[in-house]
């Protein structure tokens, strides 16, 4: 009896460690227990990332043309701050398609300008950037979508306000593994600011071809401000409902 109890106890301890490890927020990735992609540019984002093995065939986001500033940006100081959506096509987050708003130095115009853009990364890590337009920060809402191409399933169409603005042809994948949205910046200080962007909703296209709401609300915020406050040296990011994400930089 004593041996049996000892075995059960040992098994319990091991099992607890394994389950506990899975529940811990660990390095970025997809799958059970993983947080949203993070670790390089400071970000305040929410995501769906295959917690239960889901795969994605489209991502949808909607947010405002919020005011963004990047003081001091130049060709030799590439600071920028973005509000956008990322759609990852590989489980290791090595390739993705992104679209949204960016303020900071924008090499395509050799200037500092508020830009709507889309971009993608190929298997070699090369980055392709495309200017969509130069809107105004008027607070208007706009819709962003990355959707698997209906003919070539390795291609991913990018839409703004339900108009196709481009197609990513370099992903080499017919499956999405993570959809992330929110704020990204190159630094957390007084040089960069963002108004509060109401990212609502984050939805994904499931295997049945239907857009569904994000049921989980996974998130990652670097240098998080307290609660819903904003600050010069912190990022604001908080959920406001299961698929609504508020992100700002004071």
């Amino acid at each position: 009896m004593r041996t049996v109890l000892r075995s059960i106890a040992l098994l319990g301890a091991v099992l607890a460690l394994v389950v506990g490890e899975l529940a811990l927020p660990s390095a970025a990735g997809v799958g059970a227990g993983q947080t949203c992609a993070h670790g390089f540019h400071p970000s305040a984002t929410a995501c769906v990332n295959g917690r239960n093995g889901e795969r994605y065939y489209g991502g949808f986001d909607d947010f405002r043309n919020v005011a963004l500033t990047a003081t001091g940006a130049s060709s030799t100081n590439g600071i920028h701050i973005n509000q956008e959506m990322w759609f990852y096509t590989h489980a290791d987050e090595s390739q993705w398609v992104e679209t949204g708003l960016r303020q900071g130095y924008w090499p395509p115009c050799a200037c500092v300008r508020y830009t709507r853009f889309w971009a993608d990364f190929d298997a070699a890590g090369n980055e392709y950037r495309h200017t969509v337009s130069y809107p105004t920060a008027d607070g208007s809402d706009h819709q962003y979508e990355v959707l698997r191409n209906s003919s070539n399933h390795n291609y991913w169409d990018v839409y703004v306000d339900y108009n196709r603005v481009g197609t990513s042809t370099n992903q080499g994948s017919s499956t999405g593994y993570e959809v992330q949205h929110g704020l990204e910046t190159t630094e957390v200080d007084g040089n960069v600011h963002s108004g509060l962007a109401n990212h609502s909703p984050l939805e994904y296209m499931n295997g049945a071809g239907a857009f569904v709401h994000d049921p989980y609300g996974a998130s990652w915020v670097d240098s998080r401000c307290s609660g819903t406050t904003t600050g010069t040296n912190c990022l604001t990011g908080y959920g406001n409902g299961s698929d609504v994400w508020e992100a700002a930089k004071g």
Binding site: A110, D161, V165
Partner: protein, 188 residues
Amino acid sequence: MTGYWKAGIVAAVLALAGTVAGVAVADSEGAVDTGSGPNDAPVPSGYTGINDPSLQACMAAHDVCNPQAGAELQSVPWATPLPQGASVMTRAQAQQFVLKALGVPSTTQVFSEFLSGANVEQQFGISRSTNVDESRPVWVVTVVTPTYTDGGPGAPGQLKPFYSALVDAGSGEITDDCTGCDWLTSSR
């Protein structure tokens, strides 16, 4: 029974309960967007929601499914044909613009070629934005200089040996670029 054993048994029960709970969660998925919920995706007028089959069919077949939002896409200078007789950048101007955009010395090694937009897509397989008028002439420019990609929230920028860009020869702006691409290995 010692405290150690008790703790182990409690841990086993909790772990198993957690595993069972995890299985239960695995069966759930987000609610389908019906187009009528307060947080459902807004869609252009005439459609019932993001899952409206007619909207999805439009998006699969056409670039424009929301004409009211099309004005912004047409507001960039490269969205319309270049007027006949309009001046275009010279090779030297295009090359110097790209070098300036990168903030590198004007003596940096650079290659260029003058083509129509349509030829660029065919020749280099570059996927450009849909609002580019392909009849407009472009300068393809490749610079041999170490350049960092932007990276992302979870990926550091990578140092690449080349940078290539498509310069709209009419407006003088880059419409598409690639950090890491050597679209040209010599001027043509």
